[in-house]
Amino acid sequence: MLGLPPSWYKDPSYRSRIVREPRAVLAEFGLELGDDVAIRVFDSSSEVRYMVLPMRPAGTDGLSEEELAALVTRDSMVGVAEAAAP
């Protein structure tokens, strides 16, 4: 992660469980994913850095780039939350 990670990201409960039961962990974070959503976990173990692109929320068709950017949260870029609703 670029910059200082939030405290939950460093917690043993997150680090131990997200690679083993990501769906359960995401549900505890309040992100309930349907069975039709496949989950990919990326353990960043080298110099490679990943960018998670959050899904564009519904009802944002007319929004400007600035307005859309305001919906992107740090947590949504870690992949543990969806982008904010407009």
Partner: protein, 269 residues
Amino acid sequence: MGGMQGFGHVRPLTAEPAFAEPWEGKAFALGLLSIRAAGANLHAFRHALERVPPGEYLGDYYDRWLHASQILLADSGILSAEQVAARAARLSGSDAAEPDPPEPHKPSMASGGPGNLRTLDTPPAFAVGDRVRTADLHTPGHTKLPAYVRRRTGTVTAVRQAEVFPDTAATFQGENPQHCYAVEFDSRELWGPDAEPFRLSIDLFEPYLELRRTAARRRHRGHRRAGLQGPAGRAHRGPAEHPGGPSRGGVHPLLVLSMAGARAAAVLV
């Protein structure tokens, strides 16, 4: 600690700020400074973190950083455990005498350049689509092969740019750059048949891997090289030729998460 059980529920996402107490910020700064003062590198700092005794390791995150800083500084003869104990006693009101500092003996490992990305003349041993098995590694030193992916079979999904090998750099035995691969595992290969269904991708260095089965299209190219099916194929594919390979600067612009059509969610660790 990937896969360890018993840590309970995750903290709520609202658990902020990054430094809950002012001393945590100081510990963070001391950690980074200790790397420079000890003449070490980030790999050595990670190795020091791993040598923090388990009881302390699982305690407070920044307490772990302080322990690691002290280990690193002691390794290089910058600060002794006796000095730290004496200073702590004095700060608690005792008039304990402070011993003299030890004789510094910083490591001297030449660096072939800034950062950790390197270019290798030797071609990568594996290609996208190859099935690879991870090593049964039990090193007392540092490694970037986590316990939970040892002795597991996965598929190479990208050839990354070569990097300084953390396993040797952490103990100042040289950069020893190695090819690096994104390897994807099925969750059932990692956690058994009752695992949640998902795929896990992790970047692994070439010495951790052995070939199990060459990708089908690579076998095909091998035939072409032998002149069996037309003009000779290219002997090797460089990382840049792989779809999903690295971009300049080591940032992999991976596009994932909940794309409406793909219906996939990506989580970073």
